[in-house]
Symmetry: C2
Subunit: 199 residues, 2 copies
DNA sequence: GTCTATATGGCGATAGAC
DNA sequence: GTCTATCGCCATATAGAC
């Protein structure tokens, strides 16, 4: 609470932008959330676009680095996959709207992606490198590990992104029941991935 | 092309709304797409909100009914699961932005969900009914089939929703390679689900 | 640095001629 | 039914007092 004005703006902007996206967010709403006048937002950040980019870049690189870091070191070691799943599902649970926010913005304005990757110190080529070693599947055929990663992320993110619909039709809008469902997924997803890789 | 003015508006609105969402879409842009003046949009549909709801209700019920119909009759028969996956991945491929569009709107305004479910003739209770029969998992413990459905949808939708990012970091922005990757997923997802249910 | 007041532009919506 | 012109509002952005 004794943080600087700029930090207050940043935190408020992060909250509003993640909830409503670039289009849906209002500068007035961010100013209210930060407890100040909206003129100040323009004093510290020149424009809405600027403020948004500052926030987005930060969120993107934080989440992305976490995925990259864990996967880079652990994806080949099957026994460590479970640790990643536990960590990442907790990370999403603590920031439930972030993955969808990122997905929306990379679709809304894909041009920012390349610069963002670069500025974040993330090098696509190095990440691609971890897929040079292919995974042996059950019947002996080669298995593209990218399918594993995409399946994994899809299984983790979708229950959060589709929550309003899923919670309503499958859980009669019982919030607690859905939370328990989310917690169960750690084990479920773990088993699904491992069973597919191992057997 | 010889369709009525109202149909032209509807088709243009569908295209723009799906691409940009309710907030991002502009009435002017829809009018341009339909090849007419924006005053006509208000003549046929009273407001942007009206036009959007007409489009959204239609898209939602179409996609949802397709999921419901197929799952209701086929999820218990494991050997038919593959048919569903093939059909649904083709459906998404033909409408790649629709799932994310639906997810965005149910999160933006969850209130419309209940009325939409009702007006579409979809009854949540009946859908819940198909989960009364639980699935036996490998080690003999009971397995909540809702996890299967959520995993399945997540694995199918995520590669489309996250395409800009995934295509860039994993495929060096090679569009054709990514299309092939999407096609491979039919088999991959099929195997993942079946292996998890059967074994 | 922080505020109030205002400029500026864009968008949804409407009026009214044809 | 379809168009042009315009209203009224709201959001971003700025000017200027303190």
């Amino acid at each position: 609470m004794d943080s600087s004005t700029e930090e207050k703006i940043y935190e408020a902007a992060r909250k509003i932008f993640v909830l409503k996206g670039m289009e849906g967010a209002r500068m007035q709403e961010i100013a209210d959330e930060a407890g100040m006048n909206k003129a100040l937002l323009h004093y510290y950040f020149r424009s809405k676009e600027n403020l948004f980019k500052a926030v987005f870049k930060d969120i993107f690189s934080k989440f992305f680095t976490r995925v990259k870091g864990t996967l880079l070191s652990e994806i080949t070691a099957k026994e460590k996959l479970g640790i990643f799943i536990d960590n990442y599902i907790d990370l999403i649970a603590a920031n439930p709207y972030v993955p969808q926010f990122i997905i929306n913005e990379i679709n809304r304005d894909p041009k920012v992606l390349k610069s963002l990757m670069f500025e974040s110190g993330i090098e696509p080529q190095k990440i691609l490198g971890m897929f040079l070693h292919e995974v042996e599947s059950a019947n002996g055929t080669k298995l593209d590990p990218r399918h594993i990663v995409v399946s994994l992320l899809g299984m983790l993110i979708f229950p959060f992104a589709g929550r309003p619909l899923l919670q309503m039709i499958y859980f009669n809008d019982d919030v607690e029941a859905y939370n328990q469902f989310l917690n169960e997924r750690k084990t479920i997803v773990k088993n699904m991935i491992l069973k597919f890789i191992e057997a």
